[in-house]
């Protein structure tokens, strides 16, 4: 029974070599079968993939060992003869660890020197790494903890895995509460640096002198109170990612120092002449308009160019259309289970109030509103009375500046072309209504034509018109 142990290849080199040891070096699962489809030999990669050792598998029909869908439903070897070409089929298998593994199986006949069929060669490639990347790109409704199905967010979810794979500097822009921190962490987690540290520092939270020491570290005795060496965030983030949030608040003096680091990748702690070569990916974020700040000489242009290698913009919630409903349901489920409350859904009236609101605080504000409502609502359905009072007060809503310090139109992707005068405090519902009205005007009131202009079906247009009560007017 040990003959396979001495299977040798002769004539390839001066001295014979062992076939099994050669096969073991190939990082692809390989099984050699006889004409009865019994296992003759498997390599180490196949053992690792299937969980069966060569001793266990030898002499056993391959369907018992491979356990692939292909073996059971339509084994191609049954019809294979010496003249057959090799076949490559995608399938799956269940290994001894009870894992369902997507695999690419390649089957080909083995012929002797006379061309007679003497067995089959089966190679098995584990497709899990490829499928994981595909899943990341295709899973458009969410990435890590960020969810959304609007066009902008879908595009963003498809971009993140690609951006994560390299070390380019990333600048994340967006209003407050749009999820900049979560996006930065998602990029880190999806990158090759995921096993390294993710160090976050808020540039707006500390005074200039403290911030410098915090970022770059200091040497013992560098200034009064520096009683010991401090490594600094750059050094702590070595082999990982440093996330600088509110980079727009970084003082000009420190902007120069950050610029130097981005060029040389060397950190000089305060009071030290010895630099430290830090392998750090820098991700920055701001809710401020950096382009405007550059014009006003509040932010260095050269630093802006270095940070702005990949710019990812998170759209404000009011521009994310149906995402409000999606995020609302998401938080409703989370808080209902966290607070152990039997709150199932939201009433139509309460939903309409939320849809009509412009959410200057974006997703964070929506999250807080839902948390409040779940707290207040005893059980069943969330009613308007369970929502914070300020939502229903139109005056207070208009009194708020929805855009904070940033001008969103400057950050955003080009808006939908519309000749309708834009209101500062529009909601998605009002914008959609305006677009429908514009299309109807263009089409001279003909709904078929208006639907074609909008790229919708006639029934969708009818439904939306009914929703916005356009008919009644």
């Amino acid at each position: 029974m040990n003959t396979w142990q001495h299977t040798q290849i002769k004539g390839l080199f001066k001295t014979p070599i062992e076939l099994p040891s050669l096969m073991d070096e190939i990082p692809l699962g390989i099984a050699v079968l006889d004409t009865q489809r019994r296992i003759v030999l498997i390599n180490r990669a196949f053992e690792a993939l299937s969980g069966f050792s060569l001793g266990d598998a030898r002499g056993i029909p391959c369907f018992h060992i491979m356990r692939s869908r292909l073996c059971i439903q339509k084994c191609p070897i049954k019809k294979m003869d010496s003249n057959s070409e090799s076949i490559s089929v995608e399938s799956d298998m269940i290994n001894k660890e009870r894992e369902l593994i997507p695999v690419l199986i390649n089957l080909s006949p083995i012929k002797d020197t006379h061309g007679h069929l003497i067995g089959f060669l089966e190679t098995v490639e584990d497709l899990r790494p490829l499928k994981e990347v595909d899943a990341k790109i295709q899973q458009a409704y969410g990435f890590r903890h960020i969810i959304g199905k609007s066009r902008e967010m879908t595009k963003l979810f498809q971009t993140i895995p690609l951006v994560a794979q390299n070390d380019s500097a990333v600048l994340i822009t967006g209003e407050t509460g749009t999820g900049k921190d979560m996006l930065a962490e998602a990029i880190h987690q999806a990158s090759n640096r995921a096993k390294g540290p993710f160090v976050k520092i808020n540039c707006g939270a500390l005074p200039e002198t403290l911030l410098e020491s915090e970022l770059f570290g200091h040497q013992k005795g560098a200034f009064t109170g520096a009683v010991e060496n401090k490594p600094g965030r750059f050094r702590l983030a070595h082999n990982g990612t440093l996330y600088l949030t509110e980079v727009g608040d970084l003082p000009l003096a420190l902007q120069v120092k950050l610029l130097t680091f981005l060029d040389d990748k060397v950190v000089y702690p305060l009071g030290s002449t010895k630099g430290f070569q830090a392998n750090v990916r820098v991700i920055t974020a701001t809710h401020r308009n950096l382009d405007m700040m550059v014009k006003e000489r509040m932010f260095r242009k050269d630093l802006m160019f270095r940070l702005n290698v990949v710019r990812l913009h998170l759209p404000p919630l009011r521009k994310r259309g149906d995402d409000v409903r999606l995020i609302l349901d998401h938080f409703l489920n989370i808080f209902a289970s966290r607070f152990r409350k039997d709150v199932k859904n939201i009433s139509k009236k309460a939903l309409q109030i939320l849809l009509d609101y412009s959410f200057p605080g974006n997703v964070r504000e929506l999250r807080n509103v839902v948390e409040y409502a779940v707290n207040i609502c005893p059980k069943g359905q969330i009613q308007p009375m369970h929502l914070p009072a300020y939502l229903m007060d139109a005056k207070s809503q208009s009194a708020l500046s929805p855009f904070g310090e940033a001008e969103p139109s400057e950050w955003s992707a080009p808006p939908i072309t519309s000749n309708i005068e834009k209101s500062d405090h529009w909601t998605w519902a009002s914008r959609e209504r305006d677009i429908i009205m514009e299309a109807l005007v263009k089409a001279g009131g003909r709904r078929n034509k208006a639907a074609a202009i909008l790229g919708w079906g006639r029934s969708t247009l009818w439904r939306k018109m009914k929703q916005y009560k356009i008919n009644e007017q």
Partner: protein, 122 residues
């Protein structure tokens, strides 16, 4: 007790089995009642449902996904998975209380004369 079948062999995949052998065994190992059931289609969910409906206490199969393995064991069903060999040989081992998960009953495979193609039962 239930054995997922692939012809006369223990099914290599629980989720792809279209036949099952259901039997009762007395404490002394005597087989009391046996039947082979043909399923309308292969489905791990339906097979799990059948296991619960028939009040099966032991399942014998080849490969099974962790999700279904955990579900069945959670429902207090003993699962002997990764069993390789003919179903009759598996029953014999069960009768002699020597069957273990991962058993390869080599003699029941190697001695077969009609090649490796499993023989149809039904």
């Amino acid at each position: 007790m239930l054995i997922a079948l692939y012809g006369d062999q223990v099914a290599p995949r629980f989720d792809l089995a279209t036949e099952v052998h259901i039997f009762q065994m007395a404490g002394n190992g005597e087989l009391l009642e046996q039947k082979t059931v043909v399923l309308p289609r292969a489905s791990a969910e339906q097979l799990c449902h059948l296991v619960l409906v028939e009040k099966i206490q032991t399942v014998i199969c080849g490969g099974i996904e962790d999700e279904y393995y955990k579900y069945l064991t959670w429902k207090n069903v003993s699962v002997f998975d990764s069993v390789v060999g003919s179903y009759k040989a598996a029953i014999k081992r069960l009768q002699s209380k020597t069957l273990r998960p991962g058993d390869i009953i080599r003699e029941s495979i190697v001695r077969r004369k009609n090649g490796t193609e499993p023989q149809k039962l039904v």
